[in-house]
């Protein structure tokens, strides 16, 4: 019998799991995919929003501003990159300037610190290369960039270190609410019994909710496409650059990533379904136009990849948080569209409080360790550190990914740390092997060898990202003989 099962191992589910791991309770995270961060948490804008675009008084506004303020501590403890680069919302007309002023007013009501309306010159000073068509901008110094999958992975590893159990390949399909417990059953008939269920199932959270008798909301998918630019061409942008928002969200932005690339995105394709993360030519073309509008010099012709994520848009227009009215054993963290990444730490804290109010006895454990360590990447080491690293572990001397300079030691550590099953994309997200310019052209076969060596998964069974995404289909004729 578990005290809490969390359904969904995205950033929200994993942040909640970490927060729960501070207490003397038994917690399991159940995830349908082979790894954490396989949903919206792996493909988004990676912005820790300041909190000015949420309507005052909403759940979104509250947890966004609170979450933003918690990021420094969480990232420090969890060894996750965070850069407070600040964000600009650029206005291209006087009407848009009115929009931007409205955002400032929202922000001030929401308690966002440091907001300022900038003139054109001040805006250009903050971000050289901004379009000369800009008439002014909103400046938010607390806007930051982070790495969303690293955040998810780190929360999960830290929760796991503190005793939370993780189960993968577990698609919750049937949920039975008993008098004093809930039974969650997977498509493979594995059964978990728990006193409470936390619903953090991303785009599928409405389905989980319905399985537990709460049909007070629905969720629709809204796809967002991105193009990621070559690092060599990415020096042109230092801040997060938004355009004044449109009806479908915050609009297309141009931003640096914590790894030194830049991206343009996202598009907003309403009612796109919950699974389709394909990128369309129309989307890419629209992104290029929008990017050029913000920053005319944007090197839109230097992409290294394109990708898409799906926002979980709630029918209620706000995050659905707290105990369900229909089922007291269900605690919701549902409809977590943007700014869900920014809000995750605050959602985690509020969810724990909701569980307490629902009757869960929460006693802090004395030995909670908030720190999750990650060795410094070889690529970021000084010469002396590199020499010392190879001295200690010769596998640091074997560079596997030559574009991003990732060594065998780092890949081995990533495979060994993986809570689910090691996959090519999983290794990539943890180490950057295959994320560079050649996109795995050189290192994919070598990473596969290491997954076999350290993860014990035979070559034929290695996948790109779980399911049927096998990398190879068998041996060659030569080999079969």
């Amino acid at each position: 019998m578990y005290d809490v099962v969390v359904i969904g191992a995205g950033v929200v589910g994993c942040a909640i799991a970490r927060q729960l791991s501070k207490y003397k309770i038994r917690v399991a995270v159940l995830e349908a995919k082979v790894d954490v961060a396989m949903g919206a948490s792996r493909a988004n804008s990676a912005i820790v929003h300041a909190g000015y675009d949420c309507k005052p008084g909403t759940n979104m506004a509250r947890v966004n501003v609170a979450g933003n303020a918690m990021y420094d501590e969480w990232c420090r403890d969890l060894c996750v990159p965070l850069k407070r680069v600040g964000s600009l919302v650029a206005a291209f007309s006087e009407e848009e300037m009115e929009q931007v002023k409205k955002l400032r007013d929202y922000g001030e009501k929401n308690g966002v610190p440091g907001l300022a309306i900038l003139t054109r010159e001040e805006a250009l000073d903050k971000q050289p290369g901004l379009s000369p068509e800009v008439v002014g901008a909103l400046w938010a110094p607390t806007g930051a960039i982070t790495c969303p999958y690293e955040m998810t992975i780190a929360c999960a590893e830290n929760a796991h270190d503190n005793g939370v159990e993780f189960y993968f390949d577990f698609l919750a399909e049937k949920i039975t609410t008993l008098r004093d417990a809930v039974e969650v059953e997977s498509d493979k008939n594995v059964l978990f019994r728990s006193r409470y269920v936390v619903n953090a199932a991303g785009v599928h959270a409405d389905e989980i909710s319905r399985l537990m008798g709460d049909d007070s909301f629905t969720i629709s998918g809204r796809k967002g496409e991105y193009i990621l630019l070559d690092r060599e061409a990415s020096g042109f942008v230092q801040r997060v650059v938004f355009q004044a928002p449109g009806p479908l969200g915050k609009g297309v932005l141009v931003s640096p990533t914590v790894d030194g690339n830049a991206f343009i995105g996202p598009t907003a394709v309403d009612d796109s379904g919950k699974e389709d993360t394909s990128v369309t030519q129309a989307g890419v073309d629209a992104l290029k136009r929008a990017g050029v509008r913000s920053m005319p010099q944007v090197p839109a012709n230097r992409p290294i990849t394109a990708f898409a994520g799906i926002r979980a848009i709630p029918s209620t227009g706000d995050f659905i948080l707290g105990q369900s009215k229909a089922n007291p054993r269900l605690i919701q963290a549902a409809g977590i569209c943007s700014p869900g990444l920014s809000s995750a730490p605050a959602i985690a804290v509020e969810t724990v409080e909701s569980l307490r109010r629902a009757g869960l006895n929460l006693v802090e454990r004395g030995d909670f360790n908030p720190v999750r360590k990650k060795e410094k990447p070889f690529r970021a080491m000084t010469q002396e550190e590199r020499a010392a690293a190879v001295e200690k572990d010769p596998r640091y001397g074997r560079v596997i990914c030559r574009c991003e300079t990732v060594t065998e030691a780092e890949i081995a550590a990533a495979i060994e740390r993986t809570l689910g099953k090691a996959t090519l994309d999983g290794v990539k997200r943890r180490t950057r092997a295959g994320m560079g310019r050649c996109q795995g052209g050189f290192c994919a076969p070598r990473v596969m060898e290491l997954i076999e060596k350290y993860g014990g998964i035979p070559m034929e069974k290695i996948t790109k990202n779980g399911g049927a995404s096998k990398m190879i289909v068998g041996r060659t004729r030569q080999e079969e003989k």
Binding site: I304, R386, G397, C438, P445, M459, S469
Partner: protein
């Protein structure tokens, strides 16, 4: 500084090995080759097909056989050391090479450096093909490594995008391994591959090749389930969506171009040629960073390894001369591509005695082609050729005593 050498060679592929041998022959006493892989030979080790060495050795060898000739010679040469499993991380403008290997971090002060890092393949991301991102999309070279060196089949039903040599050779290899190759699509109205490969790899195996055709979308959530191919407008290269059709397959192989691997080169401060994506060099294959030379696929993409070996010998010989203080600094003139010529290597020449070979490629097919090389008003070379295509590297020799200013290389129809 851990050690000093006369000539440091970065990369142990055919270019690096040939450069090392020639540098030693030209008098360099200590030559050090650094190779990141566990074996020398470079990309040739995975090219197990025939067709190497026809020009250089006058016989047909496989890639590994061709490489082995150089490996054997290097092994029998006392003054050349090959460090394997050693990845060079940086080369400074004053020729300090920093590398990492099992033994740790190494720094080497070199009298001269030869850059021979080869190239990498262009990817799906660089092309921006729309659709999903499933498993089963490989660059042709990556698939070649899996099949030829690891004995793994990347798929059973294949579409190849791009008719570069690696794509053509892999199309045939996949058929030989029992896969079905549905088609090879080529965006351009001509192939960038060698004609002999089109005949031997495609025609002999009944694989259709469609020109002016591209892949516009990839389908399949987890593994590739098919691709949408469409014809393109020959003038604008924009896909004509009314011609789009779905082709079921489980694998898409990309053979859409090679890009010289020049991260290290940029660190030396050498001038780069935006067309070749390699360094700007003179006839000695010296870059604008003094004492730093470049050859092979890192300088410009070659289709024949024979040309690589020849170019590497030039770089190796001059690197040795430089290290021994025998290569004097001289003023150079520019060599410029004009008309149908896309690029010329070398991009600089030193005025003086002797002859220089110019290597160049055209940007479109010319049937017939007229080549004119001139210096100011003086015509140095005027030649007609039945056909010139972007897939084949062309060569011409000029007399340096005739050169007293910038040289232009021009190809026209006629």
């Amino acid at each position: 500084m851990d050690r000093k050498v006369d000539v440091a060679v970065i990369g142990g592929g055919p270019a690096g090995l040939a450069a090392a041998l020639k540098a030693h022959e030209a008098g360099a006493r200590q030559v050090l080759v650094m190779e990141r892989d566990s074996y020398p030979g470079g990309i040739l080790q995975q090219c197990i097909h025939n067709g190497f060495g026809l020009h250089y050795f006058g016989e047909e060898l496989t890639g590994p056989e061709y490489a082995q000739r150089f490996v054997d010679q290097v092994e029998h040469t006392d003054g050349i050391e090959v460090m394997l499993d050693t990845m060079v991380l940086s080369v400074s403008p004053d020729r300090v090479v920093t590398a990492v290997g099992k033994a740790g971090l190494i720094t080497v002060q070199a009298g001269a450096v030869v850059l021979a890092m080869g190239c990498r393949e262009r990817t799906r991301g660089a092309l921006g093909i729309a659709g999903t991102r499933p498993a089963g999309v490989y660059t042709a070279g990556c698939a070649q490594r899996l099949v030829n060196m690891e004995g793994m089949m990347p798929g059973r039903r294949v579409v190849v995008l791009g008719s570069g040599d690696i794509g053509l050779i892999m199309a045939r290899r996949m058929v030989w391994e029992g896969a079905k190759v549905e088609m090879v699509c080529e965006l351009m109205p001509y192939s960038s591959g060698l004609n002999r490969n089109i005949v031997q790899c495609l025609e002999d195996n009944g694989i259709p090749l469609y020109f002016n055709t591209t892949v516009v979308e990839i389908h399949g959530q987890e593994r590739v389930e098919g691709v949408t191919v469409a014809e393109v407008d020959p003038a604008t290269r924009a896909p004509k969506m009314e011609t789009a059709r779905f082709v079921p397959c489980d694998t898409l192989l990309l053979s859409v171009g090679l890009i010289p691997e020049n991260e290290l080169t940029k660190g030396t401060g050498a001038d780069m040629d935006p067309v070749t994506s390699g360094a700007v060099v003179d006839a000695a294959r010296q870059t604008t960073a003094e004492g730093i030379f470049a050859c092979g696929n890192v300088l410009h993409v070659h289709d024949l390894v024979d040309n690589v070996s020849r170019e590497a010998a030039i770089a190796g010989e001059n690197a040795a001369k430089y290290a021994l203080g025998k290569l004097n600094k001289a003023e150079t003139v520019r060599v410029m591509a004009q008309g149908g010529v896309r690029y010329v290597v070398p991009q600089r020449l030193v005025k003086g005695e002797g002859k220089a070979e110019l290597y160049f490629r055209v940007g479109a097919a010319f049937k017939p082609a007229r080549l004119t090389i001139s210096c100011a008003e003086r015509v140095l070379v005027s030649k007609k050729k039945l056909v010139m295509t972007p897939g084949e590297m062309e060569k011409a020799e000029i007399d340096l005593s005739q050169v007293d200013g910038d040289v232009t290389v021009r190809v026209e129809e006629g």
